[in-house]
């Protein structure tokens, strides 16, 4: 890993962390509903710099965010880590499988979907252990996940396009 990559990852992680923190300040109508704004940075990193950088950014973001909010190694941390890692892996996998099949928006939705599915599984195995309760809430969680995933995908799409349009901007941004 070159020095420039390290700078990039550090900066991107900082952006992701900032969005993560900002998002936790926003009031949401339902407690477990999160916008997943940090996923924007993960997705942009994945598209511009590849899966390894994206995974690094995700791991750093999840670790630091949980340390800052005091939930390190707690239930929220496990859910966050599981969701973040799987969502990054799923997006990277689909992208490497066929780069042209899905656009940025599709990738974002896939990431959001896997994030939700894994969190539901983790919640079932670790905390709730009542399959009816999980099944009852799963469609609702997945539906909101699709909505936020689409919105994040649109934002990521605009971001990537703007960054790719001018090389100078990339130098300045990163």
């Amino acid at each position: 890993m070159q020095l420039q990559d390290k700078y990039r990852i550090a900066l991107l992680s900082a952006y992701a962390l900032g969005l993560h923190g900002f998002e936790s300040l926003l009031p949401t109508p339902i407690p477990w509903l999160r916008l997943g704004l940090a996923n924007i940075i993960t997705l942009v990193t994945l598209l511009l710099y590849g899966i390894r950088s994206a995974m690094m950014v995700t791991l750093i973001r999840v670790m630091l965010a949980s340390i800052f909010t005091g939930s390190f190694l707690g239930p929220a941390f496990i859910l966050s880590l599981g969701g973040g890692v799987t969502s990054t892996l799923s997006m990277g996998f689909v992208l490497s499988l066929s780069p042209r099949l899905f656009s940025t928006i599709g990738l974002s939705v896939i990431g959001a979907l896997f994030h939700n599915i894994v969190q539901l599984f983790l919640a079932y195995f670790l905390f709730i252990q009542r399959i009816e309760a999980i099944l009852l809430i799963a469609p609702l969680i997945i539906f909101t996940g699709i909505l936020t995933g689409t919105v994040n995908g649109v934002i990521s799409d605009l971001l990537v396009k703007n960054l790719k349009n001018t090389d100078v901007k990339i130098q300045n941004w990163i």
């Binding site: 042209r100 656009s103 928006i105 599709g106 979907l113 009816e132 539906f143």
Partner: protein, 131 residues
């Protein structure tokens, strides 16, 4: 923000995935309650004492002894009725098959109620939180 540009930047797979997921999750929200087992139970009380707690899925005939004599409660196809009763006006038998609610036979002091299995559990949870 140009909506057309946005649409053109999505691929066919995108739209397919999105529409499939939206249809699946929406139908899931609507139908999941129907698919899940209801978890209803039939409770039979005689003279204020709970005697039986039966699952609604199983077809059975239960005979209970009240002050006036034997009352036979029948469960079939998730429906409940009182099949035989020693009471005079036979109102409980005339009520026929019920799916929810209760059948009360006052003369023989038999009360049959269809309830949610989770009711007690929910109350327990509230108690655990407050107490």
């Amino acid at each position: 923000m140009k909506l057309k540009g946005l649409l053109s930047s999505t691929t066919v797979a995108d739209r397919l995935l999105l529409s499939i997921l939206i249809v699946l999750s929406l139908s899931g929200i609507i139908f999941i309650k129907e698919v899940l087992p209801k978890g209803q139970t039939v409770k039979i009380d005689v003279d204020g004492h709970p005697l039986y707690l039966l699952p609604i899925e199983k077809d059975v005939k239960v005979s209970v002894e009240g002050p006036e004599g034997k009352t036979i409660v029948e469960i079939k196809d998730r429906k409940i009725r009182i099949a035989e009763s020693p009471c005079l006006n036979r109102l409980c038998i005339k009520q026929g098959w019920i799916k929810r609610g209760a059948i009360v036979c006052l003369p023989n002091r038999v009360v049959v109620t269809v309830g949610d299995e989770n009711d007690d559990e929910r109350k327990k949870i509230v108690d655990a939180i407050t107490g």
